[in-house]
């Protein structure tokens, strides 16, 4: 039982973080995280045969999220992405900036999320793993079962797409000056 406990605590937070980033609200993140761990429990008997357990867990998590996006596309989900920054997601700003600057930055992150929403799921996942989780290209490639080259291509395309969208966004262009 100890190994199960270790396994759970080793992966729980990373799964929750990823799901939260992809769906953007606590309620759905909790539902999906729970669903993912039930799936993991259902198939746990094959986990021993799998070497890269974190990749296996992430695959299940990612595909549960894809399924959710494809299947539900609920008003709640679309509404959230369309209108505002996800609840509770914040940015780290070590400087004690004045309220106006804080507000502007808040707006900037709101815009950033809207831009992210326009990217395909794969691009968002790659950006998350690379820049929020800080993984290397080979690590991301292992997790996504693809080549290093492909990860780089997706990453570059995602950044280029974000840039071209941000280019047309006045709040962004102002902030980036």
């Amino acid at each position: 039982m100890a190994s199960f406990e270790e396994f759970f605590h080793e992966h729980f937070h990373s799964v929750y973080h990823f799901v939260y980033f992809m769906v953007g609200n606590k309620s759905d993140a909790e539902d999906l995280t729970q669903e993912i761990f039930i799936k993991i429990a259902n198939h746990f008997h094959i986990a021993n045969e799998i070497e890269a357990k974190h990749a296996w867990v992430f695959t299940i998590a990612r595909r549960t999220v894809i399924d959710y996006i494809r299947k539900k596309k609920t008003k709640k989900y679309l509404l959230f992405w369309k209108s505002r920054l996800p609840e509770d997601i914040d940015f780290i700003d070590p400087s004690e900036s004045p309220p106006e600057t804080q507000l502007m930055k808040r707006e900037l992150y709101d815009q950033l999320y809207q831009l992210l929403n326009h990217l395909p799921e794969k691009m968002r996942t790659v950006l998350y793993l690379r820049y929020i989780r800080g993984m290397s290209v080979p690590e991301v490639a292992e997790i996504l079962h693809t080549s290093h080259n492909n990860v780089s291509v997706i990453q570059n395309r995602a950044l280029s797409k974000l840039r071209s969208m941000a280019d047309e966004n006045p709040i962004f262009t102002e902030a980036m000056k």
């Binding site: 039982m1 199960f4 406990e5 759970f8 729980f12 937070h13 929750y16 939260y20 980033f21 606590k26 909790e30 539902d31 995280t33 729970q34 761990f37 039930i38 799936k39 993991i40 429990a41 259902n42 198939h43 746990f44 008997h45 094959i46 296996w56 299940i60 595909r63 549960t64 894809i66 399924d67 494809r70 299947k71 609920t74 008003k75 709640k76 679309l78 509404l79 505002r84 509770d88 997601i89 914040d90 940015f91 780290i92 700003d93 900037l108 992150y109 950033l112 820049y131 929020i132 079962h145 693809t146 080549s147 492909n150 291509v153 950044l159 974000l162 840039r163 941000a166 280019d167 980036m176």
Partner: protein, 510 residues
């Protein structure tokens, strides 16, 4: 240089995002569930493993006994049964599937995006479809039996669309989509007969079409395969005979990577969006670009014998469009409307009857509304008599009225009607008729909104399970916090998730 700097700034902003930690109570709750599920699964596996060991042992023991027996009685058998010397080559008929250890039989479809008419499932008829949890191998099989590998990819992953034969669900057609690095979907078509024999149908275009669907004829003898390539605005429709494996290209461009030409054929097929069978011979197609319906008898020559009807409907939108065949009336029900994205009830779903024989397109007259009333209509099912059953939600003066009707779509009148006031706006109905189709369990989505103190709205979602009673015009309602699988145990007991509901009245059809 400027671009690189801009991207660097974006990365910088991305890296500053901070995602909240999960609540410890939630973590603890999931942990408890995880452990419970593990224990449950372990018990099943131990039981199955024990069963298989016991079965194997028993088979070996019986086999050894029979072998010993056969050596004893062989001379007599040789003489009395055949009169010939026994062949040293005994006939050895292996079953198609044999038992496998439970730790190799992994999935019942979970973890795999398998769809059948947009319902995610891994189980159809007697078959389980599942992958190797990494998404690059797709299997089918019966529980506890040797699985068959359907498809395998080296790179990328597979998803599958599975279409069971309406007349025999153990026969299925599959489209396996293989996503590769260059983002082109490769498609593979397979046919599985009732005995589990797998055939790769290799004459259909195997790649480049990004969206395809299969439409079985009602008698299950033929299937239409609709192929669409969004990039080149290209469409092809193939009629496939399941009995003979013959196929006919009804129209369209079989080359996925070439621009479709408007005048290529009479139909101008590049924006064909929907297709359905009205009967075993009659099909209806819709070109959404032109708001035009086409009808054809599949026994006729397409180029000469199709008919067209063009309609203009406000709010007709591909996202909300659906066709429901009405074989009894040789007509088709058309659902039009926009998918709602914002807060508030802005109903747009409407149901029209398209009658190809009369060339008419009529708004289904399910409800008469007045003043500022808003309403939306949804198709629920066909009754046993073949009539459409419709659900309508009417909102007026902050009152929500739910109307369920059995319609005659040609005369455009309700033959049976049920209406009741409900506490929430109910949308997105999913119906499950009881085994005798007398009772209807309808699962509605109910959303409501509350204003936040600091502005904006928060959306709350509930499920409402209702059992309408036509005779008493009453409704049994059950409020659910989360979605559950629906299943009838018998005529009086209904299961929703892990809740069993006992019913006594509430029959819609008597």
């Amino acid at each position: 240089m400027k671009e690189a700097l801009f991207e660097k700034q974006i990365i910088d902003h991305l890296q500053r995002l901070s995602i909240p930690e999960p609540d410890p109570e939630f973590e603890d709750r999931v942990y408890q569930k995880f452990m419970r599920q593990l224990q449950k699964k372990r018990k099943i596996h131990v039981f199955r493993r024990g069963l298989i060991w016991a079965s194997s042992f028993a088979i070996i023991a019986i086999g050894a006994f029979l072998l010993w027996q056969s050596t004893l009685v062989q001379p007599l058998q040789q003489f009395t049964q055949t009169g010939k010397p026994p062949s040293s080559q005994t006939e050895n008929v292996l079953p198609r599937y044999s038992s496998i250890p439970p730790d190799r039989y992994t999935l019942d479809g979970e973890g795999l995006y398998l769809t059948s008419n947009y319902i995610t499932t891994g189980e159809l008829g007697p078959w389980h479809f599942y992958d190797n949890t990494m998404g690059n191998k797709l299997y089918m099989g019966k529980e506890g039996e040797e699985p068959t590998l359907i498809h395998s990819v080296q790179d990328g992953y597979v998803t599958a669309h599975i279409y069971p034969n309406p007349s025999d669900p153990s026969e299925v057609l599959l489209i396996v989509l293989e996503s590769r690095n260059n983002n082109i979907d490769y498609q593979y078509y397979y046919f599985v007969d009732a005995s589990g024999n797998l055939t790769n149908i290799d004459f259909l275009p195997q790649y480049g079409y990004s969206d395809s669907s299969i439409h079985w004829s009602p008698n299950g003898e033929k299937a239409l395969v609709l192929l669409k390539n969004a990039m080149y605005r290209n469409t092809a429709l193939v009629l496939f005979d399941v009995q003979t494996f013959d196929y006919t290209l009804l129209f369209g461009n079989p080359e996925p990577f070439s621009e479709a030409r408007r005048n290529e054929n009479a139909l101008g097929s590049n924006r064909l969006s929907l297709v359905t069978w009205i009967s075993d011979e009659l099909i209806v197609l819709l070109d959404n670009d032109r708001n035009t319906f086409y009808t054809l008898r599949t026994t006729d020559n397409w180029e000469q014998n199709y008919t067209t009807e063009t309609f203009k409907i406000e709010g007709m939108n591909i996202l909300g469009l659906k066709l429901y065949p009405l074989p009894k009336y040789e007509s088709v029900l058309v659902k039009t409307g926009q998918i709602r994205l914002d807060v508030g009830f802005e109903p747009s779903y409407r149901l029209f009857t398209f009658n190809p024989n009369a060339g008419t397109f009529t708004l289904m007259n399910t409800v008469s509304v007045s003043g500022d009333a808003q309403y939306e209509q949804n198709f629920l099912m066909l009754s046993k008599d073949g009539d459409p059953v419709i659900s309508t939600m009417v909102v007026q003066d902050d009152q929500y009225e739910l109307i369920i009707q059995q319609m005659d779509p040609i005369r455009n009148i309700a033959m049976k009607q049920f209406n009741v006031y409900v506490p929430y706006v109910l949308s997105n109905p999913q119906v499950s008729p009881s085994p005798s189709s007398q009772r209807l369990a309808i699962d509605y989505n109910a959303e409501y909104y509350e204003e936040n103190i600091d502005g904006g709205y928060r959306v709350y979602s509930l499920r409402f399970l209702v059992f309408p009673d036509l005779e008493t015009q009453s409704i049994a309602t059950y409020e659910m916090e989360e979605w559950g699988e629906m299943m009838w145990m018998d005529e009086n007991r209904f299961v929703y998730g892990d809740l069993v509901i006992q019913l006594s009245g509430n029959a819609f059809f008597r």
